[in-house]
Symmetry: C2
Subunit: 448 residues, 2 copies
């Protein structure tokens, strides 16, 4: 980094910190949004945006013909003006950004495009919502931070599980001191993705054993990560909620981690045992690096420990495996139970059902009816609503570029740790010390 750009960045940093948090700065009543990536996830966002009267989806960028056709059909079905499509190759999104000048952009592309596209938005001072993923390198994180600090707008890291109803009720419990001082947390991504990583090239789920050029949707690109990489490949659905519970980058920070991976069997077995696969199928000749179970332990400046579970290649029920444990008790989502000292029967679990009602977050109480039918049990409604409302105000988001950088860095650091026999890896302080003073802004009111 050259000295001049450093000075520019630090100046922009101060500006970026002060201006957008001021409510006078901006509050558009109508937002022009563009979407980069019109795959299934992008279509989900567009579906939610089209239900709103404060948003116009003005443009999309994606080279995939089938996905574009399906997207345009959504506009047609709703009788809404079609967006301008930008389909001429992977970098036609740049033409879109410069030609359409949208107020905000949502990025829902394959992981390898995330950083380049988010940086392009930040460089143009376009408010950007970036879909979640792990980073490809620690440098990915630094690139985002540098781009943010040189920009006058913000990056909203689109972590939807922070808005899950039970996750938010537990946040409410944490803030009301039900669990006391937090000590240990667990989370992860335990989701049998075998039927996602392989398909028949036409139907996205559970339809075959092809991937890459022959695959469709995520099988087209996501599977390759399981071939090349061995680590905690998808950390954000776990660490996002946990970061809210223990104020990561807001009075606390992740200091180091160590990861361990099991052997790899699940993906290969899936291909071999599938009716469309077998020992001789080309996909059966592939060597998958990703261990079937990757476990990561992280430690925090304030003394908490976190265990993360990555488990996507074996037959199993979906579970993010949350555990929130403090000096007064703990909650676990696997058995939907908690134990609170002095309230629960001694040494016994208690169903969390009544607690979930009592501590239902004000946001959910207010908007549950609107969230009905939205993706992932309604939480995507809250995510998109929060994104739009923050973008209208050009406001610093609850999950900002420093959170994105920190959470994304878990992936390459866990890969490094595994490659080095579980050696601990330091987690950089991407905030450069700001974590000591930055306040939490997530879900502090029932506004958005």
């Amino acid at each position: 980094m050259k000295r001049r750009s450093f000075i520019q960045n630090t100046t922009a940093l101060s500006a970026g910190l002060l201006l957008p948090t001021s409510p006078q700065y901006s509050n558009k009543s109508q937002l022009k949004i563009a979407v980069i990536g019109t795959g299934l996830r992008g279509q989900g966002h567009i579906d939610l945006l089209l239900r709103r009267d404060d948003v116009t989806v003005v443009a999309t960028a994606d080279p995939d013909t089938r996905m574009n056709r399906e997207t345009l059909q959504m506009f047609k079905d709703r009788g809404v003006t079609a967006p301008k499509t930008h389909t001429k190759g992977n970098r036609d999104y740049l033409r879109m950004l410069d030609a359409e000048r949208p107020d905000a952009v949502i990025i829902a592309t394959p992981w390898k495009w995330h950083v380049e596209q988010a940086v392009a938005c930040l460089e143009r001072n376009i408010y950007v919502g970036l879909e979640v993923a792990g980073g490809l390198s620690v440098n990915d994180s630094w690139q985002l931070v540098r781009a943010q600090e040189a920009s006058s707008t913000h990056l909203y890291f689109l972590e939807n599980v922070c808005f899950r109803r039970d996750v938010m009720a537990v946040l409410n419990m944490v803030r009301q001191d039900l669990f006391g001082e937090l000590i240990h947390l667990e989370c992860g991504y335990q989701h049998d993705l075998r039927g996602v990583k392989f398909n028949d090239g036409k139907t996205p789920y559970n339809s075959g054993v092809d991937f890459g050029e022959k695959g469709y949707s995520e099988a087209k690109w996501r599977t390759q990560h399981s071939i090349n990489r061995n680590g905690e490949l998808y950390p954000t659905h776990g660490i996002g909620p946990v970061a809210q519970y223990i104020n990561i980058n807001r009075g606390n920070r992740l200091t180091h981690l160590t990861s361990m991976a099991s052997k790899s069997r699940g993906l290969h077995n899936y291909v071999v045992n599938h009716p469309k696969g077998g020992e001789d199928h080309p996909s059966a000749q592939v060597d998958f690096s990703l261990g079937d179970k990757v476990t990561t332990m992280l430690r925090c400046h304030n003394g908490e420990t976190i265990v993360m579970h990555h488990d996507t290649s074996l037959p199993r029920p979906y579970s993010l495996g949350f555990r929130v444990q403090g000096t007064k008790g703990l909650w676990m989502d696997l058995n939907d139970s908690l134990h609170i000292e002095g309230t629960s029967p001694t040494h016994r679990w208690e169903s969390d059902e009544d607690y979930m009602k009592t501590y239902d977050h004000p946001l959910w109480k207010k908007y549950a009816h609107k969230a009905e039918g939205a993706g992932h049990g309604g939480m995507d409604y809250f995510l998109v609503n929060s994104f739009v409302e923050h973008a209208k105000r050009v406001e610093r988001p609850p999950f900002d570029v420093y959170d994105a950088a920190t959470w994304m860095a878990i992936t390459p650091l866990s890969e490094q740790s595994i490659a080095m026999g579980s050696m601990p890896q330091a987690i950089p302080d991407f905030t450069n010390g700001q974590w000591t003073t930055t306040p939490s802004t997530f879900a502090v009111s029932d506004e958005y």
Copy 2:
């Protein structure tokens, strides 16, 4: 180690390996047993021994007056001849060993005496059952191994949870390939011991905040380990059963581990908030080293990973936290559920209730009626029965000195890892290569 003792040891090793596994070697119909340590755990063993007609408890050794009185009362209540008591200090057990020449000894003393006492038995060729604990050092493990290899008899490591009914049913499932090739396991010791580590000096549980000289039973000595040490202090109830599932030291072995500890709050808070404690109580001035939650990841030669949870200082329900996961499915004890591909509903948990009945281990089917009323849900019956039957035959036990050495080493290695910021630690091969050929003998029949 000097060359001569090496040669002696290896000769003894060969003898020790061949002779005792031969059924002709010995099969006493009546066993004279001595017990070192007549605390609450020793009394539990004596209670089970006194119910048998193939055993005479001939002697005890313990300097504690109250515990000795209580022990003798047990014999009186049953109308059984009192044992010879050896109460003259901590090393009166040596006089007992030499004077009484028991056929077998059970050691149930505070942890720091385990190795010295077990070695003394092995040196005298007395079959020894050693209560479980973590080692104080890796050298503890080597001492046991060297003593075993110079002895003509055996050390039985008394891990009772291997005999838990659900644990054995799952072992049955594992051996019948229900879960496929095992990939990942979890276990641990999650037990709120605050009311054990502190008491009023008279009543063992939940009676006060004293410990050490002022404490009673485990509070007398166990609490000091939480002051001096930070690590996986009690690994065997977790690793014991897991070792059976993945054949540790029997075709597989633990290669390395890394540990991470949270901050320490629970024990201090307990003292401060207890009606008999408070900020000014002497126990509130103590600095506890033990993190409230210690997590350890271990890796195996055959590619499995293990996560161990140590969690004894916070309010919580008891849970050993088992997870047994393979290429075909997984079981977890927290939600008493499993998922088996092709049998369970896709992506859904299924109650393990019917499976536990179907796969009930033949040993439990045969002896459940005898186990009724025995400690820890009946499993102590199976443990003591197995110990006595192996001792009668001077037979190599299912959990032998190499298992003891390996499992115990987890404790000091986890302490080292934590002290070094979660650096991975190699786990020695205490079998010196024998793990490749030693067969599993645990629960292979319904005999004992």
